[in-house]
Structures are given as C-alpha cells and as structure tokens.
Symmetry: none
Subunit: 214 residues, 2 copies
DNA sequence: AGATTTCTTCACGCCGCCCTCACACCTGCT
DNA sequence: AGCAGGTGTGAGGGCGGCGTGAAGAAATCT
C-alpha cells in the first residue's frame, strides 16, 4: 500500500485528488503550504509526492529542490499553467513528471504508477527493518517481536546491518567477514555460521526453516 | 555523452529529432521498425529510448514490453495520438514518460534530462531474464515460473549468467567451460552437458524440445 | 576480583551439489 | 550399413559446506 503526499492549496482539488487516490488504495497525506510539505515529507517518508505549483508561500519549485536535496523520492508535478518555462524549470529542478490541468484521472494514475515502479529499485537507507511481525531498528539497537523485546548482541546487530544494506540481495560470506570481522579472516566462517544460527534462533519463527535469513 | 535510440518510422520526424538532440550533444541511433528497435537496443545499449508509437510492423507497445523484460533503460514515448488509453497503456507497459505531438522542443529535452537523471542515480545492476512465463533474477538468485519458485543451484546460476551475458548469441562450449569451470577442463563437457540437461528440465516447458536453451 | 555476557573454537552429522559413468540417440560421412 | 563425433539421459556416490550443541577464551560489567 503506497503512500502519497498531496501538496495542494486549493481544498476542493485536494478533496478530488484524495478521493481519486484512495479509490485506488493509496494512502494520502495532505499539505497546503510549502513549509508543511517539507515537514510531512520528512516525517512520513511518502512513496511519491504529488505537488501543485503555485502555492501561496514560496514557490513550488523550491519545495522540489529542497526535497530533492535529501531524498530521491519520485515527484510528480500537477499544474494549471501550461507555460513551457514552468515545465522545464520543474523537471530540471528534480521533478520526475509533469501533468497539466485539466488532467485526466487515468493518465494521472498511470503516471503515478510509472513513477512508483521506477523507484522501488532505489529505496532510501532506512535503519528500520521489518520482516513479518518483527521490527528491528538498527540505529537504536532495538528489536521487537510478537512477544516483546528481543535481545541482540552487538555482533548480531552488525551482521544484520550489513545484510540490511543489501536487502533482498545475496551477500557473500566473504563480504560479511570483511565488513564485520575485518579483512584478516576472510576464510574462517566458523564464527559467522554460529552468529547466523543465533540470529535465526532469535528472529525466525521456525529457526529450522528460515524465511528471512537465507 | 549520452546515447539516444530514436525509434520512429517517419524519416522527416527522425531528422528533426536527430538535429534537435545532436545540438544538445546527444549521440543518436535510429530505428525505423519495431524489429530494428530491439536489435539496436540490445547491441548499442543506449542510455534512453525515444519511441514513436504507431510503427508499421507490430505495435510500439510490444517494443516497450520486450525491452522492459531485460533492461531498465528509461523509455520516453512520443505520439501524435492524444487518446487516453494509449497513454495509460504505454506507461503501464513500462514507459517512463509520454509526450504528445505536437511537442515543444524544450519540454522534450527537459523530460529526457529527467529520465536520464533518474537512471544514473538509481541504476541497480539488475540482471533480470525473461523467457516466456519465466523470470530469472541473476543478482538475487531467484527464479520464478508459472507454478511458483524454482530452485536453481549455484552452478546453474553461473551457467545461466554466462549465457545471459551473450543473450541470443551462440556461446561455445569452450567459452562456458572456461568462464564457469575454469581453464583447466576445456575439453571435458560431461558436467556441462548434465548441467544443461538439469536447467532444461527446470526451465523449459517441454525439456525434450527446448525453446530457450538451444 | 568475580560474575555475566559475548564471542570463538571444535567436532560431528547431515544434506545437496556436482562429478562421473555407461548407454542411447542422432546426424553426417564413407 | 557401419562408423565416428557429438549430444541427451538416468542413476549412484564422493565430498564439501552448512547447521548445531557444548565448552572454552575473551571481553565487559558491577
């Protein structure tokens, strides 16, 4: 379920967009000023920004540039202005797509899907992992399962962190050993094997048939 | 400097696009049919595809889908048709952007820049193969068929990867043996034969009459 | 310093991967 | 036909990597 941040000052249009998006099973957050837009973007980490140029305070372009400075989140611009400079400026400021009002609903939705599809590859480095009913916060060194807090050792956090940085991908033993144990013992997998075993016994529902640590 | 593959059957428009792009220091490759489009895309590995829908042979949509099956290269669609279904279909087929003729030169250039900018940042070397109803992700070591996950052994992934690097071409036994088994056993094809057999029995719809692993 | 947690080491059983082998087949050539 | 080179196939077995429990070092806490 994707989360959309709608940046739009006109309440009527906001309402239209919200209804349209929620009918497609998106969750919506709204912002009516440039300032709130950036706050919401930072706090909620939406999957895509849908922004109307021509906000009351400050230019919409500024929002694009400021968000782009710290996040690669896809940005779709919605604007009544058909002026070319506006389009070019928005795209060059970092926007991913530009839809002119009056827009057609199917087209807008298709462009949102395209923007979201592209982005799944490059997700932001978040320190919060989540498998099944498990939540692991690498930065705060906390792990919580269905039955309360789970204690992990420092070594286990470092191994998890290394795996999290390459989420979903294959991480070679060599790479783990280099990043966690140092480059001296590239071919001694004994400690690593035990560490993984312990992690599995702590995190996996059924340690004998692991689902997350493969 | 970036390389653009122009897919357009009308020579006049091709010329316009080429001049426009070369003035911006892009290098251009041209294709006037769907078939040539895919060949050029495979051989030249352009940084972005600029495709006109409505090619003489086959639908432009097919090109998009076929290219998208093996490459995440950005695709910008250019079309005279203003029909909504066309837009939505193209975007959902995997296109990244859609510009309607008559287009403005600055806007087209800005959209190309946006497409290119996205791709350099989020270029995960995803090696995704697709034959028929089969999808094989070499990086993540996953293979999925119509009936769920298919288990492949490490050796099988390496052989597939070697074949994938020369997709569609003939790969000599010698070359496979050198790249997968090492240069010692250039003339012992026994293991290779068994490995190919197993791959076929796992991937081919009818292993006795192979369609993909020839 | 003792206690406690954390990390490493070790030995052993198991499983799956890969190799090998023998044989059937196919195609072209003599 | 007979032969020769290359290929597809089923089965068996060696072997290395992985998981595991327990116990010994090392580090950290109090």
């Amino acid at each position: 379920m994707h989360q959309v941040l709608i940046i739009e000052d006109d309440p009527a249009i906001r309402q239209v967009l919200r209804v349209l998006l929620e009918a497609e099973n998106y969750r919506c957050i709204e912002a009516d000023t440039a300032l709130r837009a950036e706050i919401e973007a930072r706090s909620h980490k939406p999957d895509v920004l849908l922004i109307d140029l021509g906000l009351p305070d400050g230019d919409g372009l500024t929002v694009i540039r400021r968000v782009r400075a710290w996040s690669p989140v896809p940005i779709v611009v919605l604007s009544a202005r058909t002026m070319e400079e506006q389009k070019v400026a928005a795209l060059d400021a970092g926007a991913d797509d530009y839809v002119t009002k009056p827009f057609s609903a199917p087209e807008l939705l298709a462009r949102l899907r395209a923007a979201l599809r592209r982005h799944v590859s490059g997700s932001a480095p978040t320190s919060l992992l989540q498998f099944g009913s498990l939540r692991v916060d690498l930065a705060r060194r906390e792990a919580r399962g269905p039955e309360g807090e789970i204690h992990l050792t420092p070594l286990e956090f470092r191994v998890l962190g290394c795996l999290a940085r390459h989420l979903g991908a294959i991480v070679m033993q060599r790479q783990l050993l280099r990043e966690v144990w140092g480059p001296e013992r590239l071919d001694d997998s004994r400690s690593l094997r035990v560490c993984i075993k312990n992690l599995r016994s702590k995190l996996e529902p059924d340690p004998r048939q692991p689902r997350y640590l493969i």
